[in-house]
């Protein structure tokens, strides 16, 4: 072997293998002891040596001639930063027609007043959205139940379409609705502007109805999904699930529900510690149970795929895209720099702008730490104001204690808002951080599948990430 120098990489040990990971997220599975051999210049496996060189783990040149390729690939990986904020969430109201047991938005009675966005604030919010340089703008309507505010939605879209005549962005609309009361008017509006429907479905009726606090919720949601599909087409309707404590015992049943409803994927989402959900007693225990729930479900989903059905788990797909492809991944919860402000922003019914969906939920428990300004303020003062600046110092995991030396940080992200709400400090302390525990467990689990069952799972994973 020739003389060589190391390029930046780190490693983790999984199932008696060392997985070497570089800054691009490329990885090499090697026998245990390999890192020691690399350091002591005693690699005897010539093939491994070639792989190390060609994948930028070691170099024979002091100034590697092709290092610019590495740089260009890093730029591609961080491509989500190029466009700035593209996801703009509009929280229209807290009014709702359901009582979900873990409601993360502190919803109000359907008939209550004073908790909906004003038309003027909607106009100002849309104007602010167009200050974002992103060529793609997504307006996502949330609540409460946003479909109770159809006039506000119409006003928002019409304002956006009008401004867009000059600005020429690619506009996408999303309506997050529980589908209970999808009126014909609402669906007509969806049809007119190609609004995507994102609904909540937690699994079979015995789980969904318990979670959602109504006897008929499941029935209504399924009927709503079918109605929306009939009018808009299947590809316009998607569903999200939230894993309640009850759900933890039914991973397979929940997956089966999604498959039989004709969805081709599921996002297995853990509960967030906000709003009502913050009263949930033992988060640590929940977190651990969620991790085993998640693994069982993903295992089961892989089995389903082996029977020739295309069905993917979305969270795994995001992480696998980072592991297996050279492309960028625009998912706000797993970004560094964090997705808050950089990729997502929230215009709340109260007339204020917040750093993220979770930030506005904190406001419901009177924590205004991530309130960036009023929707009528100047764009610069909101997006680059004092809160944004403070967050900017700690939103890259490359620069956070605990994360900076973490071998799997390229697959993970920084989450200042979550650490603020769970640890009282947005910098966060990784050894007791539950987000860290969860992400680590999931990433290591995916690696263990690749190490142990690579030939079987990789063709499936490749289909998931395309």
């Amino acid at each position: 072997m020739r003389k060589y120098a190391l390029l930046p990489f780190n490693f983790i040990t999984i199932l008696n293998h060392e997985i070497l990971i570089n800054e691009l997220g490329d990885f090499i599975i090697t026998p245990i002891g390999t890192v020691q051999k690399i350091l002591s210049h005693s690699i005897s496996d010539e093939d491994l040596y070639k792989t190390l060189v060609s994948n930028f783990f070691v170099t024979e040149e002091i100034l590697p001639s092709l290092l610019d390729i590495y740089a260009s690939r890093l730029r591609t990986k961080k491509g989500f930063l190029d466009d700035k904020t593209s996801l703009h969430i509009f929280v229209l109201t807290l009014r709702c027609n359901q009582n979900c047991i873990y409601c993360q938005a502190s919803s109000q009675e359907e008939t209550s007043k004073h908790c909906s966005m004003s038309l003027e604030d909607m106009t100002a919010s849309v104007q602010m959205m167009f200050h974002s340089p992103s060529p793609n703008l997504t307006m996502e309507f949330q609540g409460g139940e946003p479909s109770l505010e159809i006039d506000l939605i119409r006003h928002g879209i019409e304002t956006a379409e009008e401004i867009n005549k000059e600005k020429n962005r690619k506009l996408t609309y999303v309506l997050c609705t529980n589908c209970r009361k999808l009126s014909d008017d609402m669906l007509e509006l969806c049809k007119q502007y190609n609004i995507l429907i994102s609904t909540s479905l937690d699994g079979p009726s015995y789980i969904h109805n318990k979670n959602r606090g109504r006897e008929d919720s499941y029935e209504k949601t399924i009927a709503g999904i079918n109605k929306a599909r009939a009018v808009l087409g299947n590809e316009f309707v998607s569903a999200l699930m939230t894993t309640s404590e009850l759900a933890l015992d039914y991973p397979k049943e929940i997956v089966d529900e999604y498959v039989s409803d004709g969805f081709n994927g599921i996002f297995l989402r853990a509960l967030n510690p906000y709003g009502l959900a913050a009263q949930n007693e033992d988060w640590k225990r929940y977190n651990q149970r969620f991790i085993s729930f998640y693994k069982t479900a993903v295992d089961y989903i892989i089995e389903i795929n082996k029977h020739g059905i295309f069905f993917r788990e979305e969270y795994a797909s995001i992480i696998l895209r980072k592991m297996l492809t050279p492309y960028t991944t625009g998912f706000v919860d797993l970004q560094s720099p964090a997705g808050t402000i950089n990729s997502v922003i929230v215009y709340n019914y109260d007339g204020y702008v917040y750093a993220s969906d979770e930030s506005r939920m904190l406001a419901e428990i009177h924590d205004y730490s991530f309130r960036l300004g009023k929707v009528t303020d100047k764009y610069e003062d909101v997006f680059c104001g004092s809160v944004a600046k403070r967050m900017g110092k700690i939103w890259a995991n490359e620069a956070l204690a605990g994360c900076s030396s973490c071998p799997i940080k390229v697959y993970c992200g920084a989450d200042p808002v979550r650490h603020h709400s769970t640890q009282g400090d947005m910098y966060g302390f990784r050894p007791t951080s539950l987000v860290c525990e969860k992400n680590k467990a999931i990433i290591e689990y995916l690696f263990s599948l690749i190490v142990e069952r690579g030939d079987e799972v990789l063709p499936i994973f490749r289909r998931w990430v395309k």
């Binding site: 093939d47 070639k50 792989t51 060609s54 994948n55 492809t325 050279p326 289909r463």
Partner: protein, 288 residues
């Protein structure tokens, strides 16, 4: 080679020079030292001027055509002027494209009609350099590919399978997806047993039946990622059935040869057959 171009032929060739700055160990037309630039250039002008306007594609090759420098660019311009509908397929080792000014000139001359076939022999630089017989070739070629992509010029990667690179074909496929995912397609090519390939047979000859499994793994990986991939010059009877769809009739029409057994073969008309110029037949051929 042809005296005149034919509209549908895949062998309308503009031969620029027989000189080369690589010395690939399996080269089928080993380079010469003669100064043949002017002679070839004049021949090529004649060919271009007399070609039918509907000619689908011309292939600019050598030796290494970029060694002609500005007159290579001039040739491309001339094809564009005389044959505005014709695609221009350049076969180059890609090293000259490490100069981005040169690449820019090529783009101006060839506009959207030019696409470049570049050989990549390995993901490991030294293996590539050994196979191409030139130290530093890998780095220059890689840089060249990036410069071409940056100008929006279409790129075909050509991998000639030999004894020195076949066992890393799966790693090469992964390398291509990770580092060169923007290429238009990737061609894995069987070797011709002629020229230096015959001379160096001891070191480099490998039978398709011996590398089929590595080849198929590489093809599958690229195909899984939706990178178009093709197999050239390998008869269908040497490939597993599910890989037949990647094989094309790649051998220039004037070179193709079939055996007697091929007459009874059900895929005779989809198969590329064998090189007429090859010294030996592959092992394991059988009618299917």
């Amino acid at each position: 080679m042809k005296e005149r171009f034919e509209i549908d032929s895949n062998s309308n060739v503009l031969f620029v020079t027989s000189q080369c700055n690589n010395h690939c160990i399996m080269c089928c037309q080993p380079p010469q030292k003669d100064d043949d630039f002017n002679f070839c250039f004049n021949q090529n002008i004649k060919l271009i001027k007399s070609a039918p306007k509907e000619t689908k594609v011309v292939c600019i090759t050598g030796g290494e055509p970029t060694l002609a420098g500005d007159s290579f660019i001039e040739l491309v311009s001339l094809v564009r002027k005389e044959l505005p509908l014709t695609d221009i397929h350049v076969l180059s080792n890609g090293r000259a494209f490490s100069d981005n000014e040169f690449v820019h000139k090529l783009k101006v001359a060839g506009e959207d009609k030019v696409f470049i076939g570049v050989p990549l022999h390995s993901d490991f630089f030294r293996d590539h350099d050994i196979i191409s017989g030139a130290k530093g070739a890998f780095n220059e070629t890689m840089l060249g590919i990036y410069n071409l992509a940056n100008e929006g010029i279409l790129i075909e990667l050509r991998i000639v399978i030999n004894k020195l690179n076949y066992y890393r074909l799966p790693q090469l496929a992964k390398y291509i997806f990770k580092n060169l995912y923007f290429v238009s397609w990737v061609a894995f090519m069987g070797m011709e047993d002629t020229g230096w390939a015959s001379k160096n047979a001891e070191t480099i000859w490998v039978e398709p039946i011996d590398y089929a499994s590595q080849l198929c793994r590489a093809v599958k990986e690229l195909d899984d990622w939706d990178i178009p991939v093709a197999i050239y010059n390998i008869p269908l009877c040497l490939l597993p059935t599910e890989y037949h769809r990647f094989a094309t009739r790649s051998i220039s029409d004037w070179k193709t040869r079939y055996l007697d057994i091929c007459n009874d073969c059900s895929v005779r008309f989809e198969c590329c057959g064998l090189f007429g110029t090859s010294m030996r037949n592959y092992q394991g051929l059988k009618a299917i």
